[in-house]
């Protein structure tokens, strides 16, 4: 998949439509947030753990804020409900939420900001912060963090640090969404496996048992999304990285990358996966009981809950030398305005603070809250799948925070694609991708001056 825009996958059509709208600008209405039931929101659950950060207040005249995001899936209704509640609690601030596909969003927001008609507040994925900061789309929020008395202690370090570009903070983390290891419990029982594998050997052994138990293909290896997220996780596990320290060279083709990709390609070679798995087929096969193991984002929990499948999810097994799991993170941001309005900026900060405090509600949409207090609350521990995947919090790997990193991710994605499809050896494919990525990095470094 050549898309370099960060977005998480909702089952099937969502991604398709995002790609479409990213390019063709059509089909928007079709993909809207229909269908998803808000019943899981249930029981209010709104009493967020207080952080004691009461620094933000807005007492000025009535203002109205445009809040744009890409929550078109099952997460949309949760966010909308939070916004509604915010509006009731803050009579002098009216927040209007506008939802569009992420792919569309990342093209439209800069264009709207350039035209002086951008939204006031928004949500951006952590790996897009640097790009949008460098491109003057969003503004630094250090003073907000200061007034709110937010600091590293309130968040997992990796999450907190990722919002910084050139020593200024551009995003207030709302959540993290890591990969997880989904498995079919019925298949496990059938094969006589009593717990999810946590090491490479156990993983291999489990696959063999599943195969002997008559599951022809127990672990479908996709050639597209989310293969590059798997690759990023494994790359971290083998001790590698996507780019070097100063973001000037691509390092994903080094030995750890080759090891990681070889492991993935071997799943196909050894017959655990069918050949040429196209986009979404792995997940559809999992839902249809044709696939036993599936690595995918935490957001899929919401979709799987609606099925009758006997499934569970846990942390990724450790295939390499250390633990690592790819994750994304939604961050709250404030857009740059041609004529900044201090009232709106202040109101926006109140909104951001409030939303980030309510993140237990947001967790129910299938996310791991970014704030430690919320993540450690009893309420969050009650969310079975989310709290299980939150165990990975200390070793999550984000895409690196350099402007234009999407270009590099796209090259990596294609390298994974070529190797999984058997067009090139892992090494050859990664090297081809890395040599293009090197050129892109040099060009980006010059362009964005980082």
């Amino acid at each position: 998949m050549a898309n370099d825009l960060p977005f998480e996958r909702r089952p099937l059509t969502r991604k398709r439509f995002m790609q479409l709208t990213a390019g063709a600008g059509a089909g928007l209405a079709l993909a809207g947030c229909g269908g998803s039931s808000a019943d899981e929101a249930g029981g209010g659950g709104g009493e967020a753990a207080e952080t004691g950060a009461a620094g933000a207040e807005y007492t000025g005249p009535n203002v109205s804020l445009q809040f744009w995001n890409g929550f078109t899936g099952g997460d949309g209704p949760f966010m909308r409900e939070m916004v509604d509640r915010f509006n009731t609690e803050h009579p002098n601030i009216k927040v209007k939420m506008v939802v569009q596909q992420w792919g569309d969003y990342y093209q439209k927001v800069p264009a709207a900001v350039a035209a002086g008609r951008g939204p006031d507040v928004g949500v951006m994925h952590v790996d897009t912060l640097a790009t949008n900061a460098a491109r003057n789309v969003i503004i630094p929020l250090d003073d907000l963090a200061e007034t709110l008395d937010l600091s590293e202690q309130d968040y997992a370090k990796v999450v907190w640090d990722a919002g910084v570009y050139q020593e200024e903070r551009y995003g207030i983390p709302l959540d993290t969404h890591p990969l997880g290891f989904y498995f079919n419990k019925a298949h496990m029982d059938k094969a006589g496996i009593d717990k999810a594998p946590i090491t490479a050997e156990e993983h291999e052994e489990a696959l063999q048992k599943l195969k002997s138990a008559g599951i022809q293909h127990p672990f479908w290896q996709s050639s597209t999304w989310p293969a590059h997220l798997m690759f990023t996780s494994l790359l971290g596990q083998f001790g590698g990285s996507i780019v070097n320290e100063d973001g000037s060279e691509a390092t994903f083709a080094d030995d750890p990358g080759v090891e990681a990709l070889t492991w993935m390609v071997n799943l196909v070679k050894e017959g655990y996966s069918p050949k040429n798995v196209a986009s979404d087929a792995d997940y559809i096969a999992f839902k249809n009981q044709k696939n036993s193991f599936h690595w995918d984002g935490i957001w899929q929990t919401q979709d799987l809950k609606k099925t009758k499948l006997n499934w569970d999810v846990t942390v990724l097994p450790q295939i390499g030398e250390e633990q690592a799991t790819w994750a994304g993170s939604h961050n709250l941001v404030i857009m740059k305005q041609r004529r900044p309005d201090d009232n709106k900026i202040q109101a926006g900060k109140v909104f951001i603070n409030w939303i980030s405090e309510q993140s237990i509600e947001w967790a129910q949409a299938g996310q791991v809250p970014a704030r430690n207090t919320v993540r450690n609350s009893a309420q969050f521990k009650g969310l079975e799948h989310q709290s299980e995947l939150a165990k990975q919090q200390d070793y999550v790997v984000f895409f690196p925070s350099y402007p234009g990193i999407g270009d590099i991710i796209a090259e990596m994605e294609q390298a994974v694609n070529r190797a999984v499809l058997g067009k090139q050896s892992p090494q050859q494919s990664l090297q081809q991708g890395a040599s293009k990525a090197d050129k892109l990095l040099q060009d980006n470094k010059k362009k964005y001056d980082y």
Binding site: M1, A2, N3, D4, L5, T13, R16, F17, Q19, L20, A22, G23, A24, A26, G27, L30, Y106, Q107, P110, A111, V113, A114, R135, N136, V137, W220, S223, T224, P274, K275, N276, V277, A278, S279, A281, I284, A285, N288, K290, G404, G406, D407, A410, Q414, N417, R418, L421, K423, Q424, K436, K439, L440, D443, K447
Partner: protein, 325 residues
């Protein structure tokens, strides 16, 4: 017009006075040109305004953009002259490899799809031009896919053609294939799939235009040919084809341009896979300009692509030019 011929001839012939009729025609003609004044231009104006605003000015602006490293969000848009173009023609540069791969992909798709999209709809139109029961139903059926948007057909065929879980392969296997065919992510199958889907999708449009052309050919010509003893093939070759000439030029031209601008099918069905093999030029340009925000080089790519299309259109016009025998 008819009067103008002799009159000018006479004029050339010497100082003889013009016959009254010819003179009248001549003066009338002169006056009518002068008298029209700006009226024709006024009629052209609305289109001219649209053309200027939405095609000419953006094209000029685009050319200006192509001479810079252009990102609309950055205050600094360094002037690079023709460097973006030079890069496209310099092996080993940031853009050349991807660009020519995409151009090759575009060329392949055009080459594979255009002949089929010119010939097959003609066959369909010839059949649908016969009289048989249910004719209108079939006319509608062949046209139906065309009303669907590329989003719909893209998602539809992605699922149908999926190598492992698609319906198409289910039947392929039923008829005895040993292995799944990777319709969406291996070669040459991805091309076959893209061309087939495109034909299924747009065949109806070309067929309808042919059909209109066929109905314009006077019946009498066929009858005359029959009387002269022309065979079915003879009637097709000597009556139908010449009668369709303008329609054929139109269809060849728009089909070439449409195929060279193919984007949605690759974007949705193959996502360029395997690797970048089925990524078309427009798809690359969209990514380069709108996702990587390298608008300068994206604009340069667009101009090179446009130059190619211009040349192809010129060749097309030359091939189909009115031959005076």
């Amino acid at each position: 017009m008819a009067a103008a011929g002799p009159s000018s001839a006479e004029q050339a012939g010497g100082g003889r006075p013009l016959p009254p009729l010819a003179r009248a025609a001549r003066t009338r003609g002169t006056r009518s040109i002068g008298g029209a004044g700006i009226t024709p231009y006024l009629f052209l104006l609305p289109y001219l305004a649209l053309f200027t605003m939405f095609i000419a000015l953006p094209a000029v602006y685009g050319f200006w953009v192509s001479l810079h490293n252009w990102d609309f969000q950055l205050p600094n848009k360094p002037w690079v002259g023709f460097q973006n173009y030079v890069d496209l023609f310099t092996p080993g540069s940031l853009t050349s490899r991807d660009f020519w791969q995409a151009m090759e992909a575009t060329g392949k798709f055009t080459l594979f799809s255009v002949p089929l999209l010119v010939v097959l709809p003609l066959g369909v139109a010839l059949i649908l031009n016969q009289k048989f029961p249910g004719r209108n139903f079939f006319r509608a059926v062949y046209f139906a896919p065309y009303v669907l948007g590329v989003a719909v057909i893209g998602v539809l065929w992605t699922l149908l053609l999926d190598p492992n879980i698609g319906v198409v392969n289910y039947y392929v296997e039923k008829v005895g294939a040993q292995e799944n065919i990777a319709w969406t992510n291996s070669l040459p199958w991805a091309w076959i799939a893209l061309v087939a889907v495109t034909i299924w999708w747009t065949l109806g449009y070309n067929a309808v235009i042919y059909l209109a052309g066929l109905q314009d050919i006077p019946r009498e010509l066929y009858e005359a040919a029959k009387v002269d003893g022309a065979s079915r093939w003879g009637r097709f070759r000597n009556v139908t084809l010449p009668g369709l000439r303008p329609v054929l030029i139109f269809i060849v031209t728009i089909t070439i341009l449409a195929s060279a601008n193919m984007f949605g099918q690759s974007w949705l069905i193959t996502q360029g896979a395997p690797g970048n093999e089925t990524r078309t030029a427009i798809m690359l340009i969209a990514q380069e300009g709108l996702q990587s925000f390298r608008m300068g080089s994206a604009a340069a790519m667009s101009f090179v692509l446009a130059t190619f299309l211009l040349m192809i259109s010129l060749v097309n016009l030359f091939v189909f030019r009115e031959r005076k025998s």
